[in-house]
Symmetry: C2
Subunit: 117 residues, 2 copies
């Protein structure tokens, strides 16, 4: 099987650095039309439009027609699943490293067993 479509989910969409750059720009500057993004990110217009398309399909941005330009705005809530997932790992680097190590190393060899939170 090939790799999942970039437009399949937020994790894949955000794996592309230029798409993160677009999100960063929208977060920092607020809603922006395409040509504005083209100028500030130094990318070609089709490239920007395509990336915006992907971001729109996964729900990370939304567009509203504004005359002949299209205003894109961030929908940051779409990042929540990713934030939730990665945050579960936060405890591994905050809180003393020693305790983590202990904890991880403490439970090395048991048979596969029902989940133990």
């Amino acid at each position: 099987m090939p790799r999942a479509a970039a437009a399949a989910d937020v994790f894949n969409a955000v794996a592309e650095p230029r798409r993160r750059a677009i999100l960063d720009e929208l977060a920092r500057r607020g809603p922006r039309d395409v040509s504005r993004l083209v100028r500030s990110l130094h990318l070609s217009q089709p490239t920007v439009s395509k990336h915006l398309g992907v971001l729109r399909r996964v729900g990370l941005v939304s567009a509203t027609a504004e005359g002949r330009r299209r205003l894109y705005r961030l929908n940051a809530a779409g990042l929540r699943p990713m934030h939730d997932w990665v945050s579960r790992y936060e405890r591994f680097w905050t809180h003393h490293l020693d305790r983590i190590k202990q904890r991880a190393e403490g439970r090395v060899s048991h048979p596969d067993s029902p989940h133990v939170p």
Copy 2:
């Protein structure tokens, strides 16, 4: 240009759901050898080995030879850049939505200007 290599960086590595599953398993159960992961994740052995290879190349896991098996352990610190990035968006869904909206909509049309944190 084609899509970036999965082993290029943490974002790409983690875009694949089975790799997240492996990380989750290591986080939950502690260090594990390959065949253990094969059993608990219901994937083929080569598949698991390949995914572990990617995770190892981006520094998310490390392996230590243990007789003829190989013990893999989570290196969660590798997720920090991703956590840092996505956390910058947290404020958009915590804190009252209204204030966010205002703030974002307030700065709609200015010329491209030097970064304003």
